[in-house]
Amino acid sequence: MTTAPAERTAAPTAPPSRNPGNVHGRMTALTLFSPVRLKWRPVQKVAFWLGKYVPLAQTHILQFDFIHYVRWTVFRDFPYDGPPQPKRDRLNYPYLFFESNFDGPWQHYIDAFAYCIPGDIRFVWGRGINFPGPPPAEPLKRWIAENSREGGTYYQAFPNTGVKEVKGALAVRDGLRRLVVESKGLSPEEFKAAYERFLHEVQHGL
């Protein structure tokens, strides 16, 4: 079964009013499944390996404080379990399965992707067939609206807590632990000074 691309001049699809199956609280799961050109696959494999094992690349991937978890999976063959499954599905291309779990609707963030990391976007998807490499952002938004998988159900353990809030709470925890250890044996005046430094350091997380 295949769905034809929508008219590319159309406006980006607005989020549907009913639960689309990929929203829980403030969180959204964006799921895309798109073909990759065969000759680009070896390059993409190297890119994913570097993304996994080069620390700078990991930092780069998560430079935006709104992505909780993100995965890329590339495959061509679907599982086959025998009848009554009609046949083994083997696609003409490797397909890239992408799932990102992040704060808020994806429409808010595509500008950041399109204008801050256009090279990364083009590198991962740009060799996909007919992919509208950014910038500008609007064609990319239309492409995502067309390719976003809707329906189903979605669950997040912290549906109303954004990445910044989680990282802020973790910074408060770590700072408090240091203060508890380092304040042992301090005079009251020394403790108060250390406590105020702690509050200053973690104020963005409170």
């Binding site: 991937i61 995965r71 890329w72 599982p79 998988r149 709470a169 408060v172």
Partner: protein
Amino acid sequence: MKIFDHDRAGVASALTTFAPIIPGEEETVRELIEALPQGEESPFARLPQLHCSRLHILRELQYQGGGQKPDELASSYLVFTSSYDGELDDYLDTICDEIPEEADSWWSHCVAYPGTADRAAFKRYIRSHHRKTSLFAAAYPPETVQSVRDALELRRRVVDFVVDTQGLSAAELQRRFDETFAEAV
């Protein structure tokens, strides 16, 4: 834990499964998963190591145009993704222990699904329908669901403490701090 484990980011793991749906049962399973309760009532809320999970149906492939040779699927697939803490084996045990009826309710519409009652067969089924991750990344990789929950609760206590102790003398502030947060390390 394997050194070159692409399904792993810190303590978090990624599971991505595609289970072929029995022909003719696609609509039944769609209605079933879309009727699942959300939030704290969701069956997934009973899996303590689960950060996030999605269950949906892959039925059609988006044709990209531009000279693409069209692809068509002969089957529809129930796609299950999870970002969870720890090892797959433990996660699957938790599914069998905590949500066996719910898990069976959606996967029983898939070809050759053995059920959670046969735990070993269930684990083999999930593993054989998993597609390995090429790259998985987490915003706070060393943190479990529980440690995030604890940090959010600790932050709430710190905020309360800051409000409650405004204007106290240095000695009283130190006494109250020791009393309140001595166990924080």
